[in-house]
């Protein structure tokens, strides 16, 4: 480890009391809105009459089923993560190294899957790979078959495919951001020294990308590990993750004691994984020489480069954009209605329902929650990341425990935490049980890890010598931050902000528990429409989904535009 000169302190923000202060506010947030409600609900579930009731645990130990469930949960998540990385990495490379027309729109579009409700994705998948879907129809035509050759309904393949569909953007964006600033001359040097293309990738590029790749893979793993909708809906009941079991035990076969035990196991597992990851991560990340994007990125020139570009992008785009296209198509054509009929129907309330929500209001509610979540999680997340980026462990004791703590909400069942809020936050001054504020708080808990994981690798990649040099040359601490840290970190903060926005736009579980029915978000409006028979309702749900995609795409483009305008290109 590098020895730190006194120039280190010249940044002014690096003293340990400051670090502690930085971490204190986010920690208080976590204690109040995560650990306290969680402890309340787990306590109440395991000891309903004040006496410990371990029936759930006994049941658990006796039944090999739960061991099998934990095993399935783990390996399907690992496999999904591997597939996601393999599918998305070429895309990350292309987005990092090339400039081409339509790039920012494509980047926004591939983020859209992240916000789509699972029910809607199931509709899109059925349209593409269902028994009467596009793929089977084509195969039947081409091969002259009587029956559809592919039966993917309720198979593991569909679950894996959906996990890739949802999470590929994590790898593209998080790895792509770091890749874009990687000094290409390092790889060139390796090549000059005789390394082949692959060897240079394996031994030079990949280790340099390890921090962000690790972060993206970890988040993907956590999402697949706690996968709920995908496994429940696309798996057709044959497969169950721990999260699905928790849901069953909370809602349909009420056994809260067992549900709480399962939730605890899931959290402990998450904590173990995060601790291991944190250690590896801190060890992997070394300061590196970074180059601005203008130097690393260019338009593809030779035909070969265009081939690489298309070869890397097409499979990814096919997988991510075809389902989106299928949804839009169905929202227009379902039930042979006149043009935009389902969209127009969204604006009417023929039954004069109390709960009718004009689409504009749903858009407004969603945007409110998403923007508030974004601001809150970027502020808190940047504080956490700055404190955790300190390399000298003596300056921030407990860093090894703190880092995984902030990741725990990702491994926590939404329905468990939702019930926790109802039990714990029920008295003034924290009577928030039915307050819209609670939605923002719940979303921020989930969004926080994204900000931390996006920003931390960027902060750690800054060479402290840069700061020292600037300070020596007489720059004020503020100026050091503005001229050195900010340009490098801004892009990573932007990625974190986009994910925070996205998490909130698409979140359904916690929102449905705490949102007042009069202020539904777009995903809730979609579910509400889907819950009623009648082709018109189905069509309106698809129209609302298309609106959701549109609003998100515009949102991503705007966030991106704003950030680039503010802090020059790096």
């Amino acid at each position: 480890m590098r020895k730190r000169g006194k120039g280190q302190g010249a940044g002014g923000t690096r003293g340990s009391p400051v670090l502690l202060l930085l971490v204190l506010l986010p920690l208080a947030f976590l204690l109040l809105f995560y650990f306290y409600p969680l402890a309340s609900i787990v306590g109440l579930s395991l000891a309903p009459e004040g006496r410990l009731d371990l029936a759930g645990l006994v049941h658990l130990v006796r039944s090999p089923y739960y061991v099998r469930t934990l095993w399935f949960t783990t390996w399907q998540a690992a496999l999904s993560t591997l597939l996601t990385v393999v599918v998305a990495l070429p895309g990350a490379y292309v987005f990092a190294r090339y400039v081409f027309p339509g790039k920012s729109v494509l980047e926004a579009l591939i983020t859209v899957p992240f916000v789509l409700p699972t029910v809607v994705v199931a509709v899109a998948f059925t349209a593409l790979i269902g028994p009467r879907g596009v793929l089977n129809t084509v195969l039947m035509e081409v091969l002259g078959l009587e029956r559809p050759p592919l039966d993917l309904q309720g198979t593991l393949a569909v679950i894996l495919l959906a996990h890739v569909f949802y999470n590929a953007v994590l790898v593209v964006r998080m790895v792509g951001t770091q890749w874009a600033n990687l000094d290409p001359t390092v790889v060139e040097a390796a090549r000059v020294l005789g390394a082949g293309r692959w060897r240079a990738f394996w031994e030079v590029t990949l280790p340099l990308l390890a921090p962000s790749l690790g972060a993206a893979a970890l988040l993907t793993f956590m999402f697949c590990f706690t996968s709920f909708g995908v496994v429940l809906i696309l798996g057709g009941g044959r497969y169950a993750t721990l999260e699905v079991e928790i849901f069953y035990r909370t809602v349909y076969l009420p056994n809260l004691s067992l549900a709480a035990t399962l939730a605890l196991i899931q959290i402990l597992f998450t904590f173990g994984l995060m601790s291991a990851y944190t250690r590896v991560q801190a060890w992997l990340s070394v300061p590196r020489s970074l180059r601005p994007r203008q130097v690393t990125q260019r338009s593809p020139r030779a035909v070969r480069e265009w081939m690489v570009l298309l070869g890397a992008l097409l499979p990814l785009l096919a997988l991510l954009l075809a389902p989106l296209g299928a949804l839009v198509e169905r929202s227009l054509t379902l039930g042979d209605v006149p043009f935009l009929a389902h969209y127009r129907a969204l604006f009417t309330n023929p039954r004069r329902s109390v709960f009718y929500v004009p689409p504009i209001a749903a858009v407004r509610n969603s945007l409110f929650y998403a923007l508030a979540t974004m601001v809150l999680s970027v502020v808190l997340g940047s504080m956490v990341a700055t404190a955790l980026s300190e390399r000298d462990r003596r300056r921030l004791p407990l860093a090894r425990v703190l880092d995984p703590l902030f990741m725990l909400p990702l491994g926590t069942s939404a329905v468990t935490l939702g019930l926790g809020y109802i039990v714990a936050l029920d008295e003034p001054p924290l009577n928030l049980r039915t307050s819209p504020v609670l939605v923002v708080l719940a979303h921020t808990l989930v969004a926080l890890p994204f900000v931390v994981r996006s920003v931390l690798p960027a902060l750690r990649s800054i060479d402290p010598h840069l700061r020292e040099a600037a300070a020596v040359l007489g720059a004020s601490p503020w100026r050091v931050f503005r001229e050195i840290d900010l340009p490098i970190v801004a892009r990573a903060v932007g990625v974190g902000a986009i994910f925070a926005f996205t998490v909130s736009m698409g979140e359904f579980g916690a929102t449905s528990l705490v949102a007042r029915p009069q202020n539904p978000t777009m995903p809730i409006a979609i579910y509400r429409l889907l819950g009623q028979p009648g082709v018109s309702n189905y069509g309106q749900a698809l129209a609302m989904s298309t609106l959701l995609m549109l609003v998100c795409t515009l949102g991503f483009l705007l966030i991106e535009r704003f950030r680039e305008g503010e802090v020059g290109e790096f």
Binding site: R132, G133, L253, P254, L513, G531
Partner: protein, 358 residues
Amino acid sequence: MRKLVIGLVLLAAALTACTPSTPAPTPTPTGPRTLTIMTHDSFDISEETLAAFEEANSAKVEILKSGDAGLVLNQAILSAENPLADVIYGVDNTLMSRALEAGILEAYESPLLAQVPDHLELDSDHYLLPVDYGDVCLNYDKGWFEERGLRPPENLEDLVKPEYKGLTVVENPASSSPGLAFMLATIGHFGLEGDYTWLDYWADLRENDVLVTSGWEEAYWGAFTYGSQGEGDRPIVVSYASSPPVEVYFSGEDFEEAPTGVVVGDGSCFRQIEFVGILKGTPNRDLAEAWIDFMLGTTFQEDIPLHMFMFPANESAALPDVFARFAVIPEKPAFVAPADIQANRETWIEQWTEVVLR
């Protein structure tokens, strides 16, 4: 830097503009009182009906929705010390025993119960009062069967015959309330013991390639030939007896007959009855009673079919035209006692899962 400031100001402005309109949080003592009702996602009512109650009682009604009925009940039980609401609506006969055992309710014998048929009144102590009911039944796509010259199914037994192989989609009882109701229909119809039990039936159904989805939405919109507009390949689905009139209603067209049919053979449906009750410790007992009377009165009851797609419990409530013309009510739905459901639900669902899915 200026851009950043402008950006932040714009963002702040956007946030303020977006703030969901919430009712003023500080109720003044002189203002109208607020009655809070906790219920499931499917609760709905028309603006006029709600306004009528609010005016007559000079009160404000606040409605809290939180997911499925099972989750709502769990929330009510967990928050018993400090109740979320004054009234709970939507506890059905599969959940009522749990609600009664938890002791979270206050009894109220509404005078309007006189207009409700006895067979809907499952709680003789009047902690839970019936508001509406609906039958979970098999629906089928009439056009699909006509096209192929195949006779639509008439009872549960038909589904396991070879000519109906691969035609049925059902919902998982572990994650869906119609799925649970249909499982209970098979229990009520085939019984737990004997030569051919309900589990034998499900084993045969599995042999006959039954498709299981997690919820009603996936079954009806994804797999049912009519609901999915041709993309699914299952012409028989577990849905409600009220689905055909609702299909007609939302199509906006004038049908001679409904496009989907209902299997109403004896013992092939399960009746869900939804109840309302007063939560223990409410400071608004009089208002809560008024609300229950209101829910059982004809104004509200006549609103039920087209808002919640259930049938009114009050016999003097008139059905809307589309229900009167297209709805069929099964005469003899299968019956399983609420106490048995409560005692065995977990076991039954586990047995079902073992036989059908593993």
